[in-house]
């Protein structure tokens, strides 16, 4: 977790913090990487249905090694299982769910998030990079609530929450909430509101490692 590893929440704690805010009965898509951790922390008694855009509604826990199936994978191409009540479908139906606003929450990683909720998470824009977008642009446009799960700063300490993104955008004004190792931040028309700070993090410190104006709820 780079230079921040001794401060704030660790990645599992962030995942648990996000999971705590996912209501019973929600349909949720988890992006590749860090967001996948969220599935491990859904509070007991809540039934949340995970969608993976490669054609499964009702993603279950990871299989034990000997039960892995090359043809039962998630969007990150990792083996998964299917819960009772799951169903398989093709890609056009899957993105009907995504684009049509049928999925309640999507948790995604980020290179940058702007004060107005712009998200950059698909390309660093470097000339040598192989551009790859996957389903991110569909998800940010179609899913009702977009949650970003990210370290508060880059490995080298640069803010990832910025006034305006300089990486190529995934979508404009699409992010609703940002969960980092330092804080939970709500993206509103009036600006970025800090809803919660991790133990040991104060507002002054948080501002010092954030590239956009932060506000506190009254």
């Amino acid at each position: 977790m780079g230079i921040n590893e001794n401060k704030g929440w660790n990645r599992d704690q962030i995942a648990a913090r996000i999971a705590a805010d996912i209501p019973d009965g929600a349909y949720v898509n988890l992006g590749i990487g860090l967001p996948e951790l969220v599935a491990n922390y859904i509070p007991q008694g809540r039934e949340v249905i995970f969608h993976t855009e490669n054609g499964l509604l009702g993603v279950g826990p990871s299989p034990v090694k000997e039960e892995e199936d090359d043809e039962l994978i998630n969007a990150g191409k990792k083996p998964v299982t299917a819960i009772p009540g799951a169903c398989f479908f093709h890609h056009a139906d899957s993105f009907t769910m995504v684009r049509g606003g049928h999925i309640d929450i999507c948790v995604l990683g980020a290179f940058q998030v702007s004060r107005e909720g712009d998200l950059a998470n698909w390309s660093t824009g470097e000339p040598d990079a192989i551009p790859a977008v996957g389903g991110a642009m569909d998800l940010v446009q179609g899913v009702k609530t977009i949650i970003v799960f990210t370290q508060h700063t880059t490995r080298s300490g640069e803010p990832k929450i910025v006034e305006s993104c300089n990486y190529p955008l995934t979508g404009k004004g699409v992010v609703s909430h940002i969960y980092t190792d330092y804080a939970v931040i709500d993206v509103k028309n009036e600006g970025l509101f800090v809803r919660e700070m991790a133990p040991g993090i104060d507002f002054e410190f948080l501002k010092s490692c954030t590239g956009a104006e932060l506000k506190l709820y009254e």
Binding site: G25, P84, C87, T96
Partner: protein
């Protein structure tokens, strides 16, 4: 816990409000959710826009809903059939509006309405009266008509088997518009001939994934429109 099963058709349709747009599955009788429609008649919501392939038969089901003056406008492809008497009469008297849509265009408008696509181009109806007033555009030298996605507040759908997540299986050609209407409506209300335990449906064979469904009511032995028409029945029952 997710449990989309409700106890009665009355409870299932209770949320339908005056002025809403309601998609109703079925192709003729096949797939028509007659118990849900009758519950909507009892419920009394008025000024409805109904999206359905036909306009109902005899004096039951969709025809009875129209006859009960709850429908302001029909969006459909084929508003007359052998036993369709209610709609033609009201239409001739100018008491109900009609938006006539080719059947394939209707199905696609409903599907894309549920898929976040606001409009698309189709060759269907080009150079006909049904394209009048619509934008046309040339692609690869051929003309196409622009059609808008269609969204509804509610869908009333009949299926064969459901579980508490709202996963649905249909019966033969009664499938027709059910799956796309579940996609195209903000709230999908389904009557199933049978509700089974979670895990009983093969995940490979589910036709409508539960995410497109909001409420399911079990109606074990749905009425047969054909039978009711033979018996000359009317709803509300005399």
């Amino acid at each position: 816990m997710i449990n989309k099963i409700v106890g009665t058709a009355k409870e299932a349709v209770a949320e339908i409000f005056d002025g809403s747009t309601v998609m109703i599955s079925g192709f003729g009788e096949a797939g028509s959710p007659i118990e849900l429609i009758h519950a909507l008649i009892d419920h009394g919501a008025r000024n409805l826009t109904i999206v359905s392939n036909n306009t109902g038969n005899g004096h039951i089901g969709l025809a009875a809903l129209i006859e009960n003056k709850q429908v302001r406008k029909m969006i459909c492809s084929f508003p007359r059939t052998a036993n369709s008497v209610v709609f033609p009469e009201l239409y001739r008297r100018g008491e109900i509006e009609l938006e006539l849509v080719p059947q394939g265009t209707l199905a696609e408008r409903i599907r894309v309405g549920g898929a976040g696509i606001p409009a698309f181009y189709t060759p269907t109806s080009v150079n006909t009266p049904l394209a009048e007033g619509k934008e046309t555009r040339i692609f690869n030298g051929n003309p196409y008509v622009m059609e808008y996605g269609l969204k509804a507040d509610f869908a009333l759908v009949k299926c064969k088997i459901a579980d508490r997540y709202g996963n649905l299986l249909y019966n033969k050609t009664a499938r027709n518009f059910g799956p796309v209407m579940c996609m195209g409506a903000r709230r999908s209300i389904v009557q199933a001939s049978r509700v089974v335990e979670l895990g009983m449906l093969d995940p490979e064979t589910v036709v409508t994934p539960g995410i497109f469904v909001d409420k399911v009511v079990e109606i074990s032995n749905p009425l047969s429109e054909n039978q009711l028409i033979k018996e000359n029945r009317r709803y509300p029952w005399a």
